[in-house]
Symmetry: C2
DNA sequence: AATTTTAATGAGAATGAATCTCAAATGCAT
DNA sequence: ATGCATTTGAGATTCATTCTCATTAAAATT
């Protein structure tokens, strides 16, 4: 938590942005709990302690955290953008169950090497991987056998 | 175009859905041009020839094409869902330029093998890969050097 | 520490993609 | 051709996200 705050502070300073109370509250809330979260969740979480942080400010601040490299936009779920921590977290990919919505994470160091090669072929400079697959998790595979006919 | 239509027809029949004029028009428009398209593009394209196909019907029909396995939802761009053909197209991944928005496609057969392994570890059954990365394309890397101070 | 300057905030209005509603139209089995 | 369930078009609705703008707060200057 310490380091995130310092990085954030430095980032804001480098952009001539002010370190305000709402910006600090939001950043701390983001790193308090979740790995995956959406703006609504975050708003509810913050509201429990701070009645006067508005949705608008959260919508304005989250992109700053992205730009600072502390979080990234990872998925969409129920028509909402989902974010996740990046600082201090290994790259990973998401297996998303089409049936129950469960998100399974899995490391991908070997995969990255191959993708880096493909990128090199295209002279593309990767900033951020975005890897995943949809399908059926273990449990829902079983359910399907039972449910179908 | 012939085969797509047959597959679609069979799909509709299997679901007890009717092969209506709008459903045919929309399906043909989808396979007329694009690889990547959003609903708005599709609507405009269709409107040129058929003044009486409504947006609502397009929004209703595109998910049918997805369910039939002919297209899939691939990306989001400018807050809009983007679709792409799957039938007759190799799996590929997307490199998306953060600066100019260009989408570069690249095959990924080797990558898929690795990801299949990871999925097997989690007992996850993959229906559809979703692979990509964000960064800078060749041209925008050059521009960056020029633009940044 | 008080003042000035400038950016950031909160609250609610606005936007816009996607979904829903329902009367009218159409496909299809008979 | 007839009847009936399904689908459609048009516009209303929803809901996540963005915008507006008067007020407030941060930091720069005195």
């Amino acid at each position: 938590m310490k380091k995130e705050r310092d990085l954030y502070r430095d980032f804001l300073k480098s952009k001539d942005l002010k370190m305000t109370k709402p910006r600090l509250i939001i950043m701390e809330a983001v790193f308090e709990n979740h790995e995956h979260f959406n703006i609504d969740d975050l708003y509810e979480q913050i509201r429990k302690k701070h009645k006067n942080v508005s949705r608008a400010t959260i919508y304005r601040t989250v992109p700053l955290l992205v730009e600072a490299g502390l979080i990234k936009q990872s998925l969409r779920c129920e028509s909402k953008d989902i974010y996740e921590h990046t600082y201090g977290h290994e790259n990973h990919l998401h297996f998303i169950c089409d049936n129950c919505g469960k998100i399974i994470e899995s490391g991908f160091s070997d995969v990255a090497i191959l993708i880096d090669l493909l990128a090199k072929n295209e002279n593309f400079e990767i900033k951020e991987y975005n890897l995943g697959a949809r399908g059926l998790c273990k449990d829902c595979q079983k359910k399907r056998i039972i449910n179908e006919k």
